[in-house]
């Protein structure tokens, strides 16, 4: 599904190298987790994959189902099936959440040559999915993320994911800032979307989320590289001992 080869990325504006040769393959239908110290480059990887400006790729490639991602516009990557749940979801005053969702769903359908969803059908689907995430009608009417609590913003990301039905979902610390119940809701939202044709890359600092979303593979990222890859037990090891042992071992 997603293959990242030798990805090197620096900031466009300054000579700061952030990703120093990332290699990673996420197979179709699998859930991979990435853990790693603050500042190791996890969010940068997710932004570069989704096409945010400000970064310069100096080497390497990222292939999603045979399509080379890095040359595509952000909206083309989305239409190709990539989705990023932001670590810091963006507030957009003046744009209603519903308008935003419908515009996004229909733009992707159009890009894929599918018919637009009718208003009635859209409303029905959105209400159903919002209900499962305990997002009330009022939140759907309000401007995108404006005045939402931290946890509400994260649930709203999952709602967008559920509506867009991407095939490659990247979740950047979607668990941070969530209370225990909200964490469960988000995990259920993710689990409901798990399917043979859909893959996940879950960036997290905590085992808590991984208790609910059992990952198939766990990677450790440090200083712009994937330094270790293992099974779910790797996350437990980090939870108990931190990164010191792992980092000492690879260095």
């Amino acid at each position: 599904m997603l293959t990242i080869n030798n990805l090197h990325v620096k900031l466009e504006e300054e000579d700061k190298v952030i990703l120093k040769g990332v290699n990673l393959t996420v197979e179709t239908g699998k859930v991979h987790a990435i853990m790693g110290p603050n500042g190791s480059g996890k969010s940068t990887l997710s932004y570069v994959l989704s096409g945010r400006e400000g970064y310069q790729v100096t080497a390497g490639e990222a292939i999603l189902d045979g399509q080379s991602l890095l040359e595509m516009e952000p909206e083309e990557r989305a239409a190709a099936g990539l989705f990023l749940a932001f670590q810091y979801p963006v507030e957009i005053p003046g744009v209603g959440n519903m308008t935003f969702l419908r515009t996004a769903v229909n733009a992707q359908r159009k890009a894929r040559g599918q018919e637009e969803m009718s208003s009635a059908e859209f409303l029905k689907v959105v209400r159903e999915k919002a209900k499962a995430l305990k997002i009330d009608a009022d939140m759907l009417k309000r401007p995108v993320n404006v005045g939402f609590s931290g946890g509400e913003k994260k649930r709203n990301e999952i709602l967008q994911m559920a509506m867009l039905e991407p095939k490659m979902c990247i979740l950047d610390e979607t668990d941070s800032g969530l209370d225990v119940d909200a964490m469960k809701l988000v995990a259920e939202g993710v689990n409901a979307l798990r399917s043979e044709g859909r893959s996940f890359l879950v960036i997290t600092h905590y085992q808590r989320l991984l208790d609910h979303i059992a990952p198939d593979v766990v990677h450790i990222m440090a200083d712009g590289r994937i330094v270790k890859t293992g099974g779910p037990e790797l996350a437990l090891e980090v939870e108990q001992n931190g990164y010191a042992d792992i980092l000492a071992e690879v260095l």
Partner: protein, 427 residues
């Protein structure tokens, strides 16, 4: 006393010939011309015209303006049940107009009012304009009073049956039109006034609105899309107690637009809102100049102005809230913002507060900035194409001004016009 300086445009003003008309109107025109001569025509050196060059507005003849082909865009307010009065290059077109009686108001044209002695019109014509000459002179409003060839005089005693819709058509490339409207809302009366269209190559309108106690006046206007048109408008309103005044203007295109609004809150517990949304690309200069005076207690005023500027367009906002002594519990709000779609465009703002009462709440803010790149990326990451994402953010930026329109059907019409403009300009 400063040295007497030569008054601007003295020669031109001396040569003005007043339109022929009946006695009271002739006297009012003469008085207006005398006011204009006393003040002289504005020049760039005047503080009030520092950001907008009045040369083409004061010139003896109008610069030519090509006509705009609207294509298949429906005319403004087409879906609204209204009484339409059409003026083409300032000349009333009876065949294209509705029977004014359907509005359920007293309505006479200025061109006919001179003969009849309509006392309420006589008592208003030029009166609010003259009041509005202090503390800032507005000589072009006085000149309008001297030269206006037509306009409407409306008196409303109850709730008007339908909105009165003034449609201004532009037919000749060098037309120069001057219209004056006088409106009196008696206590408790309600009226919606719609205005639309470019009007002429150079178009001047002055509207004087007297809103009596408990009355309610709504005004929504769209200024025509002719790229080369020049428009100067003045809106003077005197607002009584427990009254409501709301005015909204949409401007797209036009090489020069100056909209002056002068509001006086004279009775307690009233509200006055004035808002504008303007978009321009290239040769576009748009000036909102607003003066709100609070002279009564517990009144609320709002000024909400938003401009989207592209391709070297210029936006100007001069807005003042004056709170007089004794105008306690005044709630005054003013915001002016521009969205600059490129680095060639600019926004010049001069927000002012002057307060002589101690128990008031007044705020003003002015900002100017580019499209929020983070928001743009967020939208695109959800699959929204860049152009559409930009258009959504522009609409979001203008939304606060459009929310000032109370009537949902009219607001929808305005939003549709906005979307059309964006689709052409950003699509």
């Amino acid at each position: 006393m400063a040295l007497a300086k030569a008054k601007g445009g003295a020669e031109r003003l001396a040569a003005v010939e007043l339109p022929a008309c009946g006695a009271w109107l002739a006297a009012a025109r003469g008085a207006a011309l005398a006011r204009a001569q006393e003040m002289g025509l504005p020049t760039r050196r005047d503080e009030y015209w520092r950001y907008t060059d009045p040369t083409t507005l004061t010139a003896a003849t109008a610069p030519a303006a090509a006509l705009f082909a609207a294509g298949d865009e429906p005319p403004a307010f087409a879906a609204i049940d209204r009484v339409t009065l059409v003026f083409t290059d300032g000349v009333f077109d009876a065949a294209a107009s509705d029977d004014p009686a359907a509005a359920g108001v007293e309505l006479t044209r200025l061109a006919l009012a001179g003969q009849a002695d309509i006392h309420w019109a006589r008592e208003l014509y030029g009166v609010l304009e003259a009041r509005g000459q202090s503390p800032v002179p507005r000589p072009l409003a006085a000149l309008n009073g001297a030269l206006a060839t037509d306009g409407v005089m409306i008196r409303v005693t109850g709730k008007a049956a339908r909105p009165v819709s003034l449609v201004y058509r532009h037919a000749a490339t060098t037309s120069d039109a001057v219209l004056r409207h006088v409106i009196r809302l008696e206590p408790g009366a309600e009226l919606t006034l719609l205005e639309s269209g470019p009007g002429a190559a150079r178009f001047s309108t002055v509207t004087e609105v007297d809103v009596a106690d408990g009355a309610s006046f709504h005004h929504i206007r769209t200024q025509g899309r002719d790229h080369e048109r020049r428009t100067l408008t003045h809106l003077f309103a005197r607002i009584g107690a427990q009254a409501r005044f709301k005015s909204f203007t949409l401007t797209a295109n036009g090489v020069l637009t100056r909209n002056e609004v002068v509001l006086e809150l004279l009775g307690d517990d009233s509200i006055a809102h004035v808002a504008g949304a303007a978009m321009g690309d290239g040769g576009f200069h748009h000036d909102d100049t607003v003066f709100v005076t609070h002279a009564a207690e517990r009144c609320e005023s709002r000024q909400v102005f938003k401009k989207v500027l592209k391709g070297g367009a210029v936006g100007v906002f001069q807005g003042k809230i004056l709170v007089k002594q004794g105008a306690q519990k005044t709630d005054g709000y003013q915001i002016s913002q521009s969205l600059l779609l490129d680095e060639d465009s600019q926004f010049l703002a001069k927000p002012e507060l002057e307060i002589y009462a101690d128990d008031v709440k007044c705020s003003h803010g002015s900002t100017s900035g580019a499209i929020d790149e983070t928001a743009l990326f967020y939208l695109r990451s959800r699959g929204v194409p860049e152009r559409l994402a930009q258009a959504l953010l522009v609409q979001a930026f203008l939304a606060q001004a459009i929310e000032e329109i109370e009537d949902e059907a009219i607001a929808e019409d305005i939003r549709g016009r906005l979307e059309g403009w964006l689709a052409r300009r950003m699509g």
